[in-house]
Amino acid sequence: MNKLKSREELTALRDVCQKAFAAEKKKILVCGGTGCVAGGSLDIFARLKQLLEDKNIQVDVELADEPHGDAVGMKKSGCHGFCEMGPLVRIEPQGWLYTKVKLDDCEEIIEKTIVGGEMIERLVYKQNGEVFPKQDEIPFYKKQTRVVLESCGHINASSIREYIALGGYSALEKCLFDITSEDILNEVTKSNLRGRGGGGFAAGKKWASCAAQKETPKYIVCNGDEGDPGAFMDRSIMEGDPHRLLEGMMIAGIAVGSSEGYIYVRAEYPLAVERLRTAIAQAEELGILGDNILGTDKSFRIHINRGAGAFVCGEGSALTASIEGKRGMPRVKPPRTVEHGLFEKPTNLNNVETYANVPMIITKGADWFRGIGPENSPGTKAFALTGTIQNTGLIEVPMGTTLREVIFDIGGGMRGGTKFKAVQIGGPSGGCLTEKDLDVPLDFDSLKSVGAMIGSGGLVVMDDKTCMVEVARFFMNFTQNESCGKCVPCREGTKRMLEILERITAGKGQDGDIELLEELADTISNTALCGLGKTAASPVVSTIKNFRSEYEAHIYDKRCPAGACSKLKRFVIDPEKCKGCSKCARNCPVNAISGQVKSPFKIDQDKCIKCGACVSNCAFGAVSEEA
C-alpha cells in the first residue's frame, strides 16, 4: 500500500473502504478477544472459513477493494464483552449473536444461517424463557451505551481499513488540518474528560500542563498495565479497536507538542501486543504514523513496551521508570510526570480508555460528550463485571449509572438466584459497597463519598456465600505481593495486615486484631508513598465498616458466617446416625477419625484438615458440617 501523502488521499481511501464495508452484506464476526480465544474461537473461525471455501463462497477477511456482493466477510473481531456466553459469533446483516458456539456448530451455521438465512435458536441467547436472537436486544447489551467499545466486536480488529471505513482517523485529520493544538486542548478541557485509570484527574488540565512545558522532547505515554484482578477493559480496547487508541495518542501528541509515544502493556496481554503491533505497522505503512503524517510537518512514532507483570507499574512514575529499564518503583513527587516524566522529560500519561475517548470528543465535540453522564463525570465508563452474577463480561455505561442497574439489569442479577451481599469496586485499591449503596451513581465523586473508588473499572459481585474477611485477605495478599517494597508502611504494614487477616480466617484471630488492623490501615493510608500504598488498606477498612460482625464471628466464635473459610469448618459425626462401619476413618487422609467398630466414631478436630472426605464416604449421612 502506498503512503498517504495528503488529506485528499486519506479521504479517497476512506471512500473506498466505506464502499467496501457497505458492500459486505453477509458477515461472520467471530470474537477474537482473549476470553473467546481461550474458549476455542480461533478454531471456530478457521472451520467456518474452511467450510465457506469448500462451498466456493468467496471469503473476505480484509475489506476488498472491489466489493463482491456475494462474498461473506469473515472477521476476527475484538471482545464483544459478553464473555460469560463465549465463544461468540455475530452474524450480519441480521445482527444475530450466537453464543457458546462449538466447533460442531460450524457446519450448521454455514448451512442454515449463511446459506439459508435461518436463525439457529439453539445458539441464541435466552433469558427467563425469552429468546433474544439479536445482539442489540439482549438485556446485557440493551442497557449499555457503547461509545468507546462501539466498534469492539463489530469490526475486524486487525484491519485499519475497517477502522477507516467507520470514520477512523477523521479526528486526527481534523487535528492536522482544521484546528490548532490549542483548539484540541480547549476541546478536551471543555469535554471535562477525566482520567479513566482511577484517579479521575481532568485530562484537559494534564494535557495543557504538559503542553506548557518548555523542555523537549515530550512524550505521550499510554498506561496499558491493567493489573487489577478481574479487570480487562483496557485489554479489550487494545485487542478490539487498537487504532482508536493510536489515534487518541496521536491527537494528544499534536496537542502537547510531542512526536513520540509509548504504550506500556502487560506482557500477560500477548494478543493486545500483537494487535497493537499490527495496528502500528498498518498505520506506518499508510503514512498515518511516522514522519510527515499525511504530508504535513507532523511526526509521531509509537513504541510498545511490555511490562513484566508488576501491578505497581500502573503507577505513573513506576511505569516510566520501567520503560527506562529501571526497577518499577514509584518516586516521590514533585516533580510531577508532566514536568519530569519519561527520560526526565515532560510526559503526558493517560490510560488506554482515556485516550480511546479522545477521537470521538474531537469529531463529535465536547458538548456531545458532556451530554452523556453527569456534569462532573461526563462520558461513559467501561466496567469488567465479574463474580457471582448472571452475566459476567465487559460493559460500558454512562457515568452515573447506578450499581443496581449494572448488577440487576445488565448483569441479570445474581447467579443461581443467590442473595446479593456486596460488590468490590476499584479492585485492590477500592472498597466494597453493600445493598444500601446500590443506588449510588457510578461516577468519580459519588463513589469517593461512600469510601470507594471507580478505579480502573473492576466490579466483583459477591453473594451471601462470600466471606468478607476472606475477600479482604485476598486483596491484601494481592497488594502485599505487588507492593514494590520501597516505603515502610506499604511493605511492612501490608505484610502485617495480611498476617492478621490470615490468622483470623484460619480461626486463630485474637482479641484486638480488628483494632490492630484499623491502626495499621490508618498508618498505611496516611503515610505510604504512592497511590498503591495509600489505598492498600481500603478493602479491609470498608469490609470492617460494613461487616464488622463477620470479623467478630471469626475471632470470637471461631465461625465463618458465610461458611467459606475452610479452616473454620467443623465436621461432626452424629452418634445417632453413625453405625460404626469405620468407612470414614479408613478414608480419612490424616487419621483424624477413630472409634470402635459398631459404635459411634469421633473426629479429632485438631487433626482434621476439613477435606470433607468423611462426609462423602458416609453411607448413612451421619457426618456433616457443623453450622
Partner: protein, 562 residues
C-alpha cells in the same frame, strides 16, 4: 503580617533560603526530624516516611520530598505524627534482627537510636528475621540482610555517587531485598570495595569487616615483631569519636596509644607517599617525553583501580604502574626487616591503619605478595583504642619511629582530593620556594569540588590536569576522554568524594563537613619542615640503599588482567 518567604514551623517563623526541601528548613529551625533514607549527599528517596509532618489542615507530607512554600504552617510533632512514627518503627523492628547487643553496629545504629528515642518497648508482631543472612565473601564488607531496613541508602550511594551499580533492589513486597545481580556473592559482583554503602547504612546491614582481633593476637605473640603504618587521612578522621575536634591532627596521640598497646614500631604512610611521588613524577615525565599512554591515571586508590579493571579495562594502560603508598611502603618495611628483626623475634607482622575499606582488598591482592599483612580502618582503630581503655585525651603525643621517621608535607596531603597532584607538581616544579608552592596551591586543585581542572606550565607546554573524587565523577571524565571531548595529561582519581578523608573506614561524616579534615591535612603540611618529597632525606637514603636495584620490584605493579 504575612511575610512572603517564611514558613511557620511549630509556630515559629523560619526563613526559606533556597533549601531543596522542607526537611532542611525544619532542620535549620533547630529540629532534627527522624530519618532513615534521607542523606544530604544522595538523591531524595522518600521511602522511610519517618519525616512526615502535618500542615494546618491536617494534611500529611513527607518533609524530605516537599518543596518549601512561603506561608506554610507546619507542625512537626503532633499526636498523629508520633503515632505514625512509632508505628513505622515498630513495623521495621518487627522484620529486623534484634540481637542489638551483639551487633557490630550497636551504638551507631539509627534504628536502635530512634527506637530508644521513641520509646519502642514492645513489638506486637512476630519477628521473622531472627537469624543473620550473611554474605562474607568480600574482604572489605559484610552484608547481613536480616538487618536491612531497605532504606536504599547503599543502593543510591553505589549507583549515584559511585556509579558502580553492584547492588540494587530485587523482589517485591515484603520479600524485597537488596542484592547483587543474580544474588552472587558481593565479591563476585561489580563491587570495588569502596565501602561507601557501609558508610551510608543506618543499621548493621552492611558493615566493614572487622580484622582487629588479627592484629591484637599478633601483638600477644612474643615471637612476632609488629609494625604498622598510619595513612594521612586517619589522623584527621579519628578525633570526632574520641572527644577531639573534627579534622584535628591526632597522629602523635595515635602513635602513643599504639605503642602502649604493644606495637613495636609505628610508621607514617606519608613516607611511602613520598616514594610514590618520586616514582609517579618520573613515570609521568617519561610518558610525556617518550609519548607514552596519556592521560596518566593515578593508582593510589585501590577502589579506583578495581573500578577500571571491572568497568573500563580499556583504560588499564593509562593507570600508573606505581603501587599505592601503602603497598610501596609496606614492601619497603618488609624488605628492611627481612634482615633487621630484633633479637628474639622470628616473624614480622606489618599492618596498615587506613581510612579505607578497599585497602583491605588491596592488601589481599596477590600482585602485592602480602607485604601488608592486614588493614585496619580508622573505625577499627577507634574500637581498639576504646577497648584498651586508654584515655585518648590524656595521652602524650609521640613521634613516628625510626628508621622511617620522616615524611614530607607533600606526602601528608595525599589524604585529600588533589593532594597527590599537588605533591607531584611540587616534585615536577622541583622548587620548594614559598612562591612556587603558593602558585601550585592556587592552581585550583584544592577544595572538595567533585571535578577540578588545572593547567600547569611544563617546559614549553601546558599540562591539562583533572582532579576527581567520587567514581561517578570519574565516569564523566572517562566518558569525555573516550568521546574525544576532553584531553588530559594527568588525571587524579579518588573513589571516595573528598578523597581518603571521606573514606568508608572513617567515622561517617557528610560530604560538606569533610572540609575540616582536609584543612587538618593542609595544616599539617604547613607545619611540616619538609614540603616536597624530593627534599625528604628518607627518600634519598632509601633510593641509595634498600631500593637500589629493587625499585621496580618493590614500588611498581602490573595488575593481572581479570
Amino acid at each position: 503580617m504575612q511575610l512572603d518567604n517564611f514558613i511557620e514551623i511549630d509556630g515559629i517563623p523560619v526563613k526559606i533560603e533556597g533549601e531543596r526541601n522542607l526537611l532542611e528548613v525544619i532542620s535549620k529551625s533547630g529540629i532534627k526530624l527522624p530519618v532513615f533514607c534521607y542523606h544530604s549527599d544522595l538523591s531524595i528517596y522518600g521511602a522511610c516516611r519517618m519525616c512526615m509532618v502535618e500542615d494546618e489542615n491536617g494534611r500529611l507530607m513527607a518533609s524530605c520530598s516537599t518543596i518549601p512554600r512561603a506561608g506554610m504552617k507546619i507542625k512537626t510533632n503532633t499526636k498523629r505524627l508520633r503515632k505514625y512514627r512509632k508505628s513505622i518503627l515498630e513495623l521495621l523492628l518487627a522484620s529486623h534482627c534484634r540481637d542489638c547487643t551483639t551487633c557490630q553496629n550497636s551504638g551507631k545504629c539509627k534504628l536502635q537510636e530512634l527506637a530508644v528515642q521513641f520509646g519502642i518497648t514492645s513489638i506486637r508482631f512476630n519477628n521473622d528475621k531472627t537469624e543473620p543472612i550473611k554474605d562474607t565473601s568480600s574482604p572489605a564488607i559484610i552484608r547481613d540482610s536480616s538487618k536491612c531496613i531497605l532504606c536504599g541508602d547503599c543502593v543510591r550511594e553505589c549507583n549515584e555517587i559511585q556509579n558502580v551499580g553492584a547492588i540494587d533492589f530485587t523482589f517485591r513486597g515484603s520479600k524485597a531485598v537488596i542484592s547483587t545481580a543474580f544474588n552472587k556473592p558481593i565479591a563476585e559482583s561489580l563491587c570495588v570495595n569502596c565501602g561507601q554503602c557501609a558508610a551510608a547504612c543506618p543499621t548493621g546491614a552492611i558493615i566493614v569487616k572487622d580484622d582487629t582481633s588479627k592484629v591484637l593476637n599478633m601483638i600477644d605473640d612474643p615471637e612476632v615483631f609488629v609494625t604498622c603504618e598510619i595513612a594521612p587521612a586517619v589522623r584527621v578522621g579519628i578525633g570526632q569519636e574520641l572527644d577531639r575536634e573534627i579534622g584535628e591532627n591526632t597522629l602523635g596521640r595515635i602513635i602513643s596509644i599504639l605503642h602502649r598497646i604493644g606495637i613495636d614500631k609505628v610508621f607514617d604512610t606519608a613516607t611511602g607517599a613520598d616514594l610514590t611521588v618520586m616514582e609517579e613524577a618520573a613515570e609521568f615525565a617519561e610518558r610525556l617525553e617518550k609519548g607514552g599512554t596519556l592521560p596518566l591515571f593515578t593508582s593510589c586508590c585501590p577502589a579506583w583501580v578495581n573500578f577500571i579493571e571491572k568497568k573500563y579495562p580499556e583504560f588499564l594502560p593509562n593507570v600508573s604502574t606505581c603501587r599505592s603508598p601503602m603497598s610501596m611502603f609496606s614492601a619497603v618495611v618488609k624488605e628492611y626487616y627481612k634482615n633487621n628483626l630484633p633479637d628474639g623475634k622470628t616473624k614480622h607482622y606489618h599492618f596498615a591503619l587506613m581510612p579505607c575499606t578497599a585497602k583491605k582488598f588491596e592488601c589481599k591482592r596477590e600482585e602485592f605478595g602480602g607485604v601488608t599483612d592486614d588493614v585496619i580502618t580508622t573505625q577499627e582503630l577507634i574500637k581498639i583504642i576504646k577497648e584498651s581503655g586508654v584515655r585518648f585525651n590524656e595521652t602524650q603525643p609521640e613521634a613516628v619511629d625510626m628508621p622511617f621517621g620522616s615524611a614530607s608535607g607533600a606526602g601528608v596531603i595525599f589524604g585529600v582530593t588533589g593532594g597527590v597532584t599537588e605533591a607531584v607538581l611540587r616534585k615536577i616544579a622541583n622548587d620548594s620556594s614559598r612562591t612556587t608552592l603558593a602558585q601550585i596551591e592556587y592552581t585550583g586543585i584544592r577544595g572538595l569540588e567533585d571535578i577540578k581542572e588545572a593547567y600547569i606550565p611544563y617546559g614549553d607546554r601546558r599540562l591539562h590536569i583533572a582532579v576527581v573524587s567520587g567514581l561517578s565523577n570519574a565516569v564523566k571524565i572517562m566518558e569525555a576522554i573516550k568521546s574525544g571531548e576532553m584531553q588530559f595529561d594527568l588525571v587524579e582519581v579518588m573513589a571516595c568524594r573528598g578523597g581518603c578523608i571521606g573514606g568508608a573506614g572513617q567515622p561517617y561524616i557528610s560530604h560538606r563537613k569533610r572540609n575540616a579534615r582536609g584543612e587538618g591535612l593542609y595544616r599539617a603540611d604547613r607545619q611540616s619542615s619538609i614540603k616536597c618529597s624530593q627534599d625528604n632525606y628518607m627518600t634519598d637514603r632509601l633510593y641509595s640503599g634498600l631500593l637500589r636495584g629493587k625499585t621496580h620490584e618493590l614500588l611498581h605493579v602490573e595488575y593481572n588482567k581479570k
